[in-house]
């Protein structure tokens, strides 16, 4: 990992996000620009336009330390303490109940589908 490879990777990531913002603005589409950037990068990696080595150092750092990057967002909860306090029960119950529903139905669904499509590969 070198300073040069990290900087080059960050330049590529920023350029892709930049292009995504321009594209979504021009077409008036309500879609997260960074997510379009992610899709673009995945496509460019798969088609071989961008090599894995060009971005891997920058990506590794950003992903590994992502917890720090969303600290400012977490702390801006200070601005919404009243709402959160007032609705904390609804928030917690919704998270727990829906997490269980998603987890169990998805596992059951995929297990069913893969049994029928491949007759159990494992």
């Amino acid at each position: 990992m070198t300073a040069g490879s990290i900087l080059r990777g960050i330049a590529i990531l920023l350029a892709l996000q930049w292009v995504s913002v321009l594209f979504l603005q021009a077409l008036h589409i309500a879609f997260p620009p960074a997510l379009l950037g992610m899709i673009l990068l995945a496509v460019l990696l798969l088609t071989g336009v961008i090599r894995e080595e060009s971005v891997e150092d920058a990506c590794t750092i950003l992903i590994e330390k992502m917890g720090m990057l969303f600290l400012p967002a977490g702390i801006s909860m200070l601005l919404y303490l009243d709402i959160i306090k007032a609705e904390s029960i609804a928030i917690f119950i919704t998270i727990i109940v829906s997490s269980l529903i998603i987890l169990i139905t998805t596992t059951a669904f995929v297990e069913l589908v893969s049994k029928h499509s491949k007759g159990g590969k494992h």
Partner: protein, 238 residues
């Protein structure tokens, strides 16, 4: 005395506080082997506490002036999530139909169940919209939240709580119910509790981990497309 005016009025305050407290919490997590706790979970209340209890001497705006620089990096970090997706391309290719259909089912069930649950327990419109992307990885979830009209910071908190709940209970619940298919388990975990939940697959199975990694990215894409389409329908129904 730790917070002179000259420091508080410079971006150094927000940037410094964020990085120093985060690294400090990382050290604590490593030192005491608290691996289930992400450093974020310790650092967040510490910084909030400093700002909250030192107000009015310290204001949130003073913190945000520097913290915005760090927040900005979430953009490139989201783009960077393409790398794990690319590295798992073989797993994705081998199980394409199962993974794509599973992710779509998980996303639709997720949006509907969160909406119905939230309504049932009396969540307000803003809170409900903030909860919708809670199963998606944090930076994407915050983006989706701001697109559909939620509060991105509340979404971030809900995402973390979802992930911690998932990483603690997912495997226990699934094995208690008798599920054994690694593809199904990995996909359901990635789609329901993103990276935090998937990290619990590390010492279970490599296949679970790979499928979970693919599911994280795809659930982000699916939610950002499906949430704006499903929300008007759900609002009309309920």
């Amino acid at each position: 005395m730790f917070f002179p005016e000259a420091l508080l009025n410079s971006p150094m305050f927000g940037i410094g506080l964020t990085i120093i407290v985060y690294v400090f919490c990382e050290l604590i997590v490593n030192r005491f082997e608290l691996n289930i706790i992400p450093p974020f979970v310790l650092a967040c209340p510490i910084i909030m506490g400093i700002i909250y209890f030192q107000s009015p001497h310290i204001t949130y705006e003073q913190y945000a002036a520097g913290a915005n620089f760090i927040n900005f990096l979430l953009g490139p970090a989201t783009v960077a999530l393409a790398l794990p997706l690319y590295r798992n391309r073989q797993t994705l290719k081998n199980n394409l139909a199962v993974i794509v259909s599973g992710v779509v089912v998980a996303t639709v069930i997720g949006i509907v169940s969160i909406f119905v649950c939230g309504k049932l327990f009396g969540a307000s419109e803003q809170v409900l919209l903030s909860l919708i992307p809670k199963s998606v990885t944090t930076p994407i979830a915050m983006d989706i939240s701001s697109v559909i009209g939620g509060i991105p910071s509340l979404t971030a908190a809900c995402v973390i709580f979802t992930g911690m709940f998932g990483s603690t209970f997912n495997h226990k619940i699934l094995s208690w119910l008798g599920f054994k298919n690694d593809i199904a388990i990995g996909l359901a975990i990635g789609a329901s509790s993103h990276g935090l939940g998937t990290s619990a697959c590390v010492n279970k199975s490599a296949l679970q981990l790979a499928i979970g990694g693919v599911a994280i990215g795809l659930t982000g894409i699916a939610t950002s497309i499906l949430a704006p389409l499903l929300l008007p329908l759900l609002t009309n129904l309920f």
